[in-house]
Amino acid sequence: MSTASPVKTTAVAAQGVWKAYGQGEAQVVALRDVSVEFASGAFTAIMGPSGSGKSTLMHCLAGLDTTDRGTVGIGDTTITGLGDKALTKLRRDKIGFIFQQFNLLPTLTAEENITLPLAIAGAKADPDWIKRIIHTLDLTDRLSHKPTELSGGQQQRVACARALASRPEVVFADEPTGNLDTRSGAEVLNFLRTSVDDFGQTIVMVTHDPNAAAYADRVVFLADGQIVEDMADPTADKVIDKMKHFEELVAAAQGENA
């Protein structure tokens, strides 16, 4: 495992994680003995073809899904084995989410959507912080709008603001640009980059878009439930090149396993 970016502290870590769905013949192994660490203040992309297990990995890391074997830790907390209540509290306080479908509440305004995690926790928002995110995302004059009155790009920017509102330990982004046009996608990715560079935010992003992956500090490639490559300082070309030789990578990985 190569670690190109300088390791400060570890924000998220997975140790020997296995995950399978279904029973008997129909069983599909989604993750096979995956161990990976994500450094604080780094922007990491997880890439891989459909069915490679990248979404499953993210769900396990974020405490949305349980692991069959192995442990997952966020910050100092080992989340494996935690009950629903503790997991819920952990997601609320330590994790931010950005989804492909934006997933905003249609009944709330943009501003209310941004502060939603804080409202659920019954916590006070830090007004300076919220103002700063909103300003960075250029949402200042959209705050009183309902999601249906916003464009896709604006909605996803609201979702970004929501993910950062409670200064989580890590933000998980699941194909955040999947439903956006190129320009809006670039805006969102630029913001994610900025939040890492300026705010020191930790971001783990699942994507299958080499251009999106190029915004990250590091790319972890997944295939057939295993990490097959770990690339530092990616560019779109490097990523595309790597993907062209994917089958070789997989074969090599399987050779290692055998």
Binding site: H59, A62, L64, D65, D84, K85, T88, K89, R91, R92, D93, G96, F97, F99, Q101, N103, L105, P106, T107, L108, L116, P117, A119, I120, A121, G122, R162
Partner: protein
Amino acid sequence: MLRATLKGMASRKARLVLTSLAVVLGTMFVAAAMVLTSTMEKSVSGVIADAYQGVDTVITNGTDPAAAQGNTPSAATVPADVLDRVAGVDGVDRAVGEVSGQVNAIGSNGKLVGTFAPTIALTWDSGDDSGYIEFHEGDGPAADGEVAVSAKFVADSGLDIGDTVTAYSYTADRTDFEIVGVYGLSGDRDSLAGETQIMFTTADAQRMLLEGEDAFTTVYAYGDASTDDIAAAIGSDEYRVQTGEEASAEAAEGFAVVADFMGYIFLGFGLVAVFVSVFLIINTFTIIVAQRQRELALLRAIGAGRGQVVRSVLTEATVIGVLASVVGLGLGLLLGWGLSQVVSATMMGGLPVQLLIPATTMWALVVGIGVTVLSALIPAVKASSVPPVAAMREAVNPPKPLRGITIAGAIVFAAGTVLIALGMTDNLGGEELTGILSGVGIAFVGVTMLTPILSRPLVALLGAVMSWSFSGRLGKLNAGRNPRRTAITASALMIAVALITGIATLVSSIKSTTAEVLDLNLNSDLIVSGAQGGANIPSFSRETLAEIRELPEVAAVGDVYMDFFGTQIDGEDAPLASSEDLNAALGVFGGTVAEGSVTDLAPNSVVVDEGTAEDRNVALGDTVEVTYADGETAQLEIAAILDGYDLTNGWWVSPEQIEHFTLPKPMQAYIQLEDGADAAVVQNEVDEILADEPEVGVTNNAEFVDQQTSGLDTILAAVQILLALAMIIAVIGVVNTLVLSVLERTKELGLLRAVGMTRGQVRRMIIVESVIICLFGAVLGIAVGIGLGWTVQRALEDEGLTNFALPWGLIVMYLAAAVAVGLLAAIAPAARAAKLNVLNAIAYE
């Protein structure tokens, strides 16, 4: 297509069960009503036929069949010589005269026996060999002064064989009789239908009921003589000659009234249930269609026609309608049978039930299926308009604009209001009441159409109360999200609450009016009166009245004598009243004299209120002709005109005329006490004086109001059962809506859980949504109900219903009930929402 429909239905069993439940309830009550009515009719005719068993011919006085009973002043009788003539007809083996009627019998506790079912007086026929009467002990009365009583009489009176029973009637003073026998009726029954019976000798019965006249109320003939022969022998058109079967059928009709009344109540329950189910069915099918939007669009995309889609939804409705109606019918038959047992045991003295399922019960099926299919029509047409392209798109159901339905609702509501206004201002040419009632109905429909637009401000307002927590706030926002759905869900509750509130408002207005009339004007502190019951209008003796007058604490007594058995003024029916001292009575009642004087009334004078005087077009000093119950007439001069006042309206004759009254005894006495007297102490003293007066008691004014209005409370209680029933259906509707909401918002719920909402918070959110929908329905229902009650009160203002009073206690209770319904309905959907797998919820769609 049919296969696809049925398979689709099978996969949504829970929703189908919920929808079916509403149809089941409606059908069940309609069917039960029909079974109850016909079963009770059959059972009653069964026992009546038993009573007429073996009787071949029945002869009664035909001039006034209604009066063919002893103990009314105008009892129409069959004289003894008619009996002799009947007995002499060829083919008549035996002819018996019976004297039947009602008497008051005093039980061991000093009160009347069988207050609500008067004691029936009969004559003992020693030659009766039908076996209908079965003696438990002793025998029939062999000599005058002896009686036999029914086993039910023994049970109710506390008297038994060997005891002495005191009986009296309108026309006969108290007389003591010795009980020499106790009997039951064939089939091991204590009574025919819950009444108490006493059996006299013929001579005693004639004394008690016919003022000693040698006549009968009925003559029974046994033998095969034809009715024509018997009629010819009697030789007068004055008498009716019927076969035993005819007389039995006629008697049964009268008895079946109780069962009919119960039947109507249950039919009403059933129809309200059916009406409320319409909303539920429309909502459920709208929901099913919304959920299946993609499936329907797919069907359209692969070539299904619009008609096929409509038929698919209607097929589903038909299947539900048929299944639910059949189940409802089955349960209805059981319920009808059970209710018949209960009615016969509690109200008809253990009448043996003979189950009869009338062919008309099948109408319950027609109603159940018809309502289901018709209600599903709108959603079905909506389903057919799903464009094929919707199969490829994400399912979004943007709330439809409310303008159309709001404008239509406003027009309908305005039309209803105008009709009410026209009716109230007497502008409908004599059809005012019809106009007002139709107006109320139309306005009701209008309000129902306006519920979606009303839901916005009302839900926001009600929600504001619940928004103290963030999940509460989200719940409130969700409740206001789809106004149409919220409105139609709340409508079921609104209808029930509106009906019940309307009735409760009327009842409280009547009570308030009654209380005000008494409070404002009445100067009395205590009232001697009795509840109607027994054979007579409750009354007491003149001696008792005199004793009360003599009590030292009593300042004045307003006594009332009344008669309305055939009394007339100038040839028109008019109840008569009298008082021993009208001047003093007016003082106690708070009535006032407009013209003339009521002091020292001359024997041939009469006093009348100004309203009646105006109606009859008479004035002070005019002479009117009075006809008394005893048939005598007299010319009376109007000595005074009273101001209009409920308690003293009518014709007052001078005390000298009381002797002409059917019952020359005081019926009520209003007692005014000396200043400083303790009403409670005097009430006890009066109570002691009344110890030997079985028909009346003494109450203070408040107790009197309660006594006068206690019947209303019973009606109100019965109607509240309606509310409970409608609430069951409303719960189903709310559950349905919430389950759909949870399904539709799976993704949102997933997001909320992902960003840290706990299961408890999710549950609270759903509960708040549920409670708000229910409160909205209840608040609207209460508002509409108050409007309903107000309209009817205004319409009846001229009839004396002058006060409008809100039943605050009940209104609070209905609101509390709505909250309870909301909590109950939220249980399952909230649990379902809380249990959602976060991951699946996010990956949904």
